[in-house]
Symmetry: C2
Subunit: 535 residues, 2 copies
């Protein structure tokens, strides 16, 4: 069963070894075990619904049950966790709808227009930026759970296109395609729960996007039900017939309507797939190698470079400490010491293409002094690729909060942006007389630049409000640093509520005006996910 | 000097051999040599300007000179040619502006807003769909020639990005980049004259877009001056921060403002570049091979498959008939006869990558029974790649009009769409008791489908009006067929005036409403290129 107040399945508990806790204490300070709300305590917070007895309830199996409303009130952002674990949830939806078809959604939208009801689309509930927060609205709010719409509608191997209902989850998509010899190849960290419609609405990127493409390019067509009517995007390979408004549905975050159907590009399952690893003596040589790999066009599926602090943290958290001390000893003999950076790189395709790709990659790595260490680290990463969010549960219970920040910048700004983000976090913590442990990797590389992914760990405060304030100070310092460096406020998480304040600096006032004009056209009453993405 | 009433340089005349004329006569009928207007006769058509003495004239070296106005009145569409050659130009701009900087353009836009002046951005003047047509407006119209803004502003080999002023032409871009060891790799048929800003405004595709990408992906950032202010798109590798409005500037066709600056992805010049050729016995096997090549991801730069009628026409028009008769004889011994289709395919990259790519391609071609015929056809194509538009001059003078149509569809619709377009043209000609010679190639292939490019030749009528009516009947029959098949009304030419009537069937009413809302936001008075793309 899925955990109601944290990440993942209740049956899975990610242990942390004592050495790792010592490491954390040394970097962040001693933490106190935090008490978490019980589910009954959460339910007690749910107020009465404004929709009891409403005629809308006949539509989409809608319910005002407190349990359903509690389970759909938040996502997975840090403020969401503080809400769930410490009882700081301000509002709950008045009802939850469970549509089974686009037709039902059409009816729901028409009724919502008529009765002035606000709607929040809900996919896997994995947003980390506040997409699911219930707005402070005089009008009732219904959260629309899309998970019952999870069917494959059309698949044509010849044209390598598949059409799914939007509520289908990552594993359901891959089960369906892999049985036919195909894959979508889209693996965001939230893969196990997040949905295709959610990926489109937030312009999702996955661990293998270097090989298969981001949602921006995988999403070829589909259907968006808007309050003003249906918006159908036909699958067309490429077009010069005016602006591409498909790219406006992508990233619309529920503001334009509800995505009901998506046609996506699929690929033949690769014959082979390998993830190899190498160590570099410092960030300078490692980043040069990564840029050259990105620009060499080698059919790679992934590149992930952990900078020194992340490499050290990864090694400290690993369970097989004995093996690792040998690795460290070996590396130090090659001059790879404290500042070492771990590179994971993946190649997939035919057996020939994989050997060729790995060979070319290794040549570039060697030129920059990288030490090849084989498949072991890559295999470990593949096994554990969806497990790291489980650490949030374990650390929270030990009194630590863990959160991540991400952006992308052109190559000339990668190093300075990493430093700016890390410094901003450390300075913001220092001003609060706290410590923060910060580490970064670059991944999702492009010919012209790279994404930057920073993780930070800090101690929970004694109260919900104080913890939230501590997070807000850290988050806002880092976000400010990102936009000042010319980075995007989000490379893969979306905007939601948490990134909204930084959007105008990134995009400019005209961008917001244009987008508001589009939203006004399809949703004149402002029913759709109010307040997310833009005010 | 550039030809004022046709394509290309005045010094270049593309001869057509007598066999080719016989071939045309057999397929289209005997034509009468057509009289063309002289330049003086054209100038005599230019009315007085509504801007003489206007204070606007102080801006951007603006001129009301009849010669400048005549030379900026039309583009290269068939109606444009009828206008220039037969004197059917209804309106001329009141003035032509020649800005030298984004600042001058800002001033021009502010003055235009103040005085309610309509503006038409003009790049290389190569539009084939009526982008440059002067609207029937009570307000004065100024055409804005961007060719003085042709400088490289920034180049960083590390991040493989170059920023140019928007008025720079194809050859100027390549001179600039190739001297530095780089290339943009964008070669539309209009390469010699068309401009970067024009490519972005019309979502251009080039002959090598399979390898280097369409403008959609090459254009990373830039600057659009709109009546409401400056819209700056920062170069960011990838972003999940809301909808991608860069994709709304792409394809904006002058309706949102004037593009003044473009940052584009560039690539290292490939070590090697090869174009090889093969023949197939019929469309069925050839199209299967092309789809498999497109889906195999082989680092190819181009794939161009001429179907039977185009292959026959190409061979008839070629000058070296003796060599060809040997080729035909050889092919017929392999069973490749009347329905034969010529495939050209290009690979570029390192010497290794090219050998590897050619080898893999040849394997796929062989599996479908394709007969490899070496480099000769590819070399001929490379030499003549920008010469075929010159044929328009030669044929027009002999009494024939030649025009092209293009779309793209998913793989399952390629064959039926080709047939529908060709049949529509033939039936429309038959109803006028005329013949039309029609032939098609597929190129710009994608994993999920392909573009379709159809050329048609018909006889000029005795008068301008009758010729225009003949073209309109053919064009509209074929365009109708395209949208009925679910194709886009343009894969690479844009919408302009000629494709506007078909846009609503393709995109739907909501698409148009959203786009109008965006245009209204940045250009509330409707000053920018009125009537193009949408009413």
């Amino acid at each position: 069963m899925r955990r109601w107040n944290g990440w993942g399945e209740e049956s899975v508990f990610q242990k942390v070894n004592p050495i790792a806790f010592e490491y954390l204490q040394a970097h962040v300070g001693l933490a106190k075990t935090s008490h978490s709300l019980t589910f009954d305590e959460l339910i007690a917070l749910v107020p009465s619904s404004r929709l009891t007895q409403h005629e809308l309830l006949a539509c989409c199996d809608m319910t005002c049950d407190a349990k359903d409303r509690a389970l759909h009130a938040v996502g997975q952002s840090l403020p969401d966790w503080i809400g769930l674990r410490m009882g700081l949830i301000e509002r709950f939806p008045d009802a939850v709808a469970y549509p089974k078809s686009a037709q039902e959604i059409r009816t729901l939208l028409d009724l919502a227009s008529e009765h002035d009801i606000r709607l929040i689309p809900y996919g896997g509930g994995t947003s980390v930026v506040g997409h699911l927060t219930v707005p402070d609205s005089l009008q009732p709010v219904v959260t629309v759970d899309m998970r019952r719409m999870n069917q494959l509608l059309h698949f044509d191997p010849m044209e390598q296109l598949a059409t799914f209902e939007a509520g289908i989850s990552g594993p359901e998509i891959e089960d369906c395609l892999q049985a036919r010899g195909y894959t979508l190849g889209h693996y965001p960290q939230s893969f196990e729960y997040s949905t295709l419609g959610g990926w489109v609405a937030t312009r999702s990127a996955g661990q293998y996007s270097l090989g298969y493409g981001r949602m921006d390019s995988l999403f070829v067509g589909g259907r968006l039900e808007t309050p003003a009517g249906s918006f159908v995007l036909k699958p067309i390979p490429a077009s010069a017939a005016g602006p591409d408004l498909r790219q406006t549905v992508l990233g619309s975050e529920g503001r334009l309507g509800i995505i009901t159907e998506c046609t996506v590009k699929v690929s033949r399952l690769p014959k082979q797939e390998r993830v190899h690893a190498a160590f570099f003596k410092d960030a300078e040589t490692a980043l040069t190698a990564v840029r050259e790999l990105a620009q060499a066009d080698l059919h790679m599926t992934m590149i992930r470079l952990s900078l020194a602090a992340e490499t050290e943290t990864t090694l400290a958290l690993a369970s097989h400490q004995k093996v690792l001390s040998f690795v460290k000893l070996g590396l130090s003999l090659w001059g790879v010491k404290d500042q070492k950076c771990l590179l994971l790189y993946g190649v997939a395709g035919s057996t020939d293409a994989v050997s060729q790709g790995l060979l070319s990659a290794r040549r570039i790595i060697k030129q920059q002094g990288g030490i090849f260490v084989g498949q072991k680290f890559g295999e470990e990463w593949k096994k554990a690729r969806f497990q790291s969010p489980y650490l949030r549960n374990t650390l929270w219970e030990a009194g630590y909060a863990i959160d991540t920040l991400e952006t992308s910048v052109i190559w000339s700004k990668v190093k300075t942006t990493i430093a700016a983000i890390e410094d901003a976090l450390k300075n913001a913590a220092r001003l609060q007389q706290e410590q923060v442990h910060v580490f970064t990797h670059v991944s999702h590389v492009y010919a012209v630049g790279s994404s930057i992914y920073t993780t930070y760990v800090f101690r929970l405060a004694d109260t919900a409000d104080a913890t939230l304030a501590r997070w807000q100070t850290l988050k806002s310092a880092a976000s400010q640093a990102i936009v000042e460096q010319g980075g995007t406020i989000s490379h893969q998480h979306g905007v939601g509520l948490d990134h909204r304040p930084y959007l105008e600096v990134e995009k400019g006032e005209l961008w917001l005006q244009m987008l508001r004009a589009v939203a006004k056209t399809v949703d004149p009453k402002g029913l759709m996910n109010p307040g997310k993405l833009m005010e």
